[in-house]
Point group: D2
Chain length 344, copies 4
Amino acid sequence: MRDRREKNRAIVRGYHDVHAIALIGAGRIGTIHAAHIAAHPRLRLACVADPALEAARAVAAAHSAHAVDVATALGDPTIAGVVIASPTDTHVDYTLAAAAAGKAVLCEKPFDLDLATARAAADRLDAMGARVLIGFNRRFDVHFATLRARIAEGAIGAIEAIHIVSHDPAPPPIDYLATSGGLFRDMVIHDFDMARWLMAAEPVQVFARGACLIDPAVAAAGDIDTARTILATARGQLCTISSSRRSGYGYDQRIEVYGSRGMIRVGNIAATALETWTDTGGTTDPIQHFFLDRYAQAYASEIAHFADVIDGTPPLVTPADGVAALALALAASRSVQSGRMEAP
Amino acid sequence: MRDRREKNRAIVRGYHDVHAIALIGAGRIGTIHAAHIAAHPRLRLACVADPALEAARAVAAAHSAHAVDVATALGDPTIAGVVIASPTDTHVDYTLAAAAAGKAVLCEKPFDLDLATARAAADRLDAMGARVLIGFNRRFDVHFATLRARIAEGAIGAIEAIHIVSHDPAPPPIDYLATSGGLFRDMVIHDFDMARWLMAAEPVQVFARGACLIDPAVAAAGDIDTARTILATARGQLCTISSSRRSGYGYDQRIEVYGSRGMIRVGNIAATALETWTDTGGTTDPIQHFFLDRYAQAYASEIAHFADVIDGTPPLVTPADGVAALALALAASRSVQSGRMEAP
Amino acid sequence: MRDRREKNRAIVRGYHDVHAIALIGAGRIGTIHAAHIAAHPRLRLACVADPALEAARAVAAAHSAHAVDVATALGDPTIAGVVIASPTDTHVDYTLAAAAAGKAVLCEKPFDLDLATARAAADRLDAMGARVLIGFNRRFDVHFATLRARIAEGAIGAIEAIHIVSHDPAPPPIDYLATSGGLFRDMVIHDFDMARWLMAAEPVQVFARGACLIDPAVAAAGDIDTARTILATARGQLCTISSSRRSGYGYDQRIEVYGSRGMIRVGNIAATALETWTDTGGTTDPIQHFFLDRYAQAYASEIAHFADVIDGTPPLVTPADGVAALALALAASRSVQSGRMEAP
Amino acid sequence: MRDRREKNRAIVRGYHDVHAIALIGAGRIGTIHAAHIAAHPRLRLACVADPALEAARAVAAAHSAHAVDVATALGDPTIAGVVIASPTDTHVDYTLAAAAAGKAVLCEKPFDLDLATARAAADRLDAMGARVLIGFNRRFDVHFATLRARIAEGAIGAIEAIHIVSHDPAPPPIDYLATSGGLFRDMVIHDFDMARWLMAAEPVQVFARGACLIDPAVAAAGDIDTARTILATARGQLCTISSSRRSGYGYDQRIEVYGSRGMIRVGNIAATALETWTDTGGTTDPIQHFFLDRYAQAYASEIAHFADVIDGTPPLVTPADGVAALALALAASRSVQSGRMEAP
């Protein structure tokens, strides 16, 4: 307890170094980032830019900030970091511009849907020495982050296999699918990132089997809604990924890691710790349905990590990570067609 | 998902009604309240008062606010609400002053340690029609709040009995005990409040058995460190409370409610959802040790409720609730001495 | 695995020492004992005695045994052990007769309902050096037996407190209550035995609060259906017992033990390990409702222990244990009347 | 409770119809079958045949039976059923001989390792109208049997996918592998049977990826120790199987079934219901390590089902089921070699 108090005092003592942040995008995810910036002891929300001016003003007012345009934000020398939460097709351009202006950047995923575009931008940012954090939120989840720390410490010996379950509560609108890039690029890409990060090894072979079991309209739109994927590394480590657009019971986000000395797993998190027992048995509350509920802490920790990035810590997720996950997604799509293993 | 977005937009739209808040006390709990105020879409932290000026300035800087003195804060007509997180012996005076200035008040517990003082202040605030919320944080915990909602909805029929486990991770310094008011007034008072709130009935008899099992120094200081208490309502409903100054395994905070049709319980919450399995069995992470971790969400919800109180919602916890819990604590102390049931 | 095979071979090798057992009582519990005797590698069911001749014949036929009368069974010199599962009022007489005939005895509980009768018989059996095992089945439950072993090994340090939940699924017929001896002697007596056994210390003070919350007919019959009891040992260790004639959700049988270094608990056991997740949340199967299901393994282990008793192992539960538990039950009844602590 | 007593009485009443059983094989599994036969109210162990005469005599003595030779057992007209627990290479011959003698047969798995031999014998038994139960024990496990009943009742809607985890605690001796038939025929064959049984549909495509991660000696012996398999039915339903010769934490036997309305799963079963909480977190007992512990109830239920088969119930597992599982195992082996999907 004493340690905590000391740490607390240390945080409070550092008020001379509160960094000013510009937020681009005042939509759903931007609003969430704004609150975490305002609550953080070493960040303050200085300005908000969004073509929807009312939205920008509202977010600004709630946290003692100002509504501005993007050029003003990027041109302001007092701004240390830029958080990009605007539409996907602006991500690469805003990131490059903010980096060119010397700002640290937190860019929402996806960085881009096209492999060549993403790769070129990643290379350019790398050449600039830019500090860019890509918003793969799951890496900041305390459960998954602790999982990785434990396996890195050797808690279950050498890692042999991983099993990832990632089922959305309910499918998105059919309209959305046409522009989503398909199941693997849109949704399983998170799991490809987790697989790479947890195994600390690159998959060299990908087998995927897809199916359309939920809604024939998905097949009509040229997509699948269910898949099982097997990844293999050069050493023979295996990763299976269970993917579904609809669980029927919530946002199913589980990972099991098998090692030479045992197994570690992260289970789902119910909305409450309640158990009710009656003559029909025991019931618990549903698991969290909404990704913003399941990953509320992850978004706060992502902002906290961004504060550290501004202070010099290397970003945990780089544009190169986004590129690698995208390559696995494309290999999985090819495997569904070929019926055999493919290389990324 | 659509509903959430609508709600989100509604929150954002209301930026004309962002309330200015004054914080009195920039210590550990004040710092936490400050962050929740800054993050809330309908509150903004306007000023911070603390005799420790550096602390006040640091908290203010982190959230775009100003350091002021108490008189300035209470005299500022733009301030809608005052959060009192200063030392206990100032609670009653600051609450009365802020209420007299027409502010809504969130006052940290304990309101006061003396039954007569607390009762007199509660009566006066009541006569003034003051809007005062007492910070019994557990009522805002999502688990306990949902528990109460479920039993009120009749999920397990008529309530017959409650069992509360409330064991601190480790005892406080012996010095602290001398001024704490003793186990029942200092610690079990939370559980007396929960018992009253959950049973929705007043206990009329109290039996308590105390012991000093953890540290003989506690007995030397005239206190006990372990107790078991039985409360009975007029209808015969029974509540048992298991109290300990030291669990050895974390901050054990559990409640079971028994009804005519079943049982509902809230279990402990581990720091993570990890399970590790090796040849020695399964292990989970420790339950949360620190009350600020276990009740982090409760403190945020308490601030959110305070925003509603400013907008006219009646406070969930009133000064009268503090008085009633204090009376039960005193009856329990008497029962330990007499070896028989006592009335509060 | 090798060890198990060796042990298996050792068991098989001992076929010259298969002990012949007589069963008195071919009712529900007698039938269960018969199957466990037949399955055990060192016991065989030789004969069954019951005034209901058809029942005796049926049980005998199922296990290659013979139906006889009690005198024949006790007079047969090839019989090594007698299992008494006849009505309660015959227990003391049959036990004394079988012991006088030199047999080892397993006598179903209750040994007797009257304290003086039970104490006198226990003394006489003790003087005879009789090998008598009283069927307090819970001590043979693998969960509770392992619990005791762990706390004896010091897994949680010095034992400070115990909490026992023992709620029946549904109340017995009102008729039964008149002759049952009341809640404490009939039902809580099991928990008094567990408290003594687990704490390895004798309670010296008893406080109990009773209520009639389930059925007014219970009060009309002069009994209570709900109780909370606090036991204290000379050292100040505390045991709470939560008792109910009706849970509404199954046979609730849980124990928590608190020590200087942590806590151990035994939870309920669901009928299956199934979890079902749908949009209303997670559900598990009900916990086992019927005591013969919950304690199926305990009854088999009790018979296995009886085989060891025949071979010279001291009985784990003696007539003296039954007497001590009965004394606590009577003290609890007195406390409900007096509203204060009583000595057993 | 009344129902149970009625049923109990009904069982007891039927003592005229206690069936005499012959056991062939007095080794580890034969000894277990013997105890379950002896305990069953409608079966009695009449005779035991084993070339190891001492073993046969020991098992017989423990359950009031006689040691005989196989010819005598099969020639005895009072014998209604034969349980075959002898070495694998005798299974087909003894089954055919016992069926020819008009007995009902319970034959331990594997029926045979060779597909042609197994198929020919299955066809011949079918032509004879023989009543033959193959000992795929997992189908009798209460957890998996209830799982199948629930999904058949539609608890989670239409079945879309299954995930089976089946990891042995520790690898068998390397010597054993040479004659085992390899990972798929020896071990995963159980899971192929479960997949067919639970999906109630035949897999038409098999993809498997194998690895040797545990012990290089396994690879040297021409086998793999780790595999991940994907099965697909004609409708597109997917089944994944996670296989390992060594878990490091016990006998991991789990199944999850995903449907259009939710998910059902069977988790592992710890050896006890104990939880211990100390400052390092919570610990539970290891899951059961030994298949005879994990499936103790399943073996008893298998014998109970065999009693029903003698009375005319069709066997739950037929020789044809063994043939179908074997065909899937062979397809999986081919897929590991080809790197693509194979048909069984």
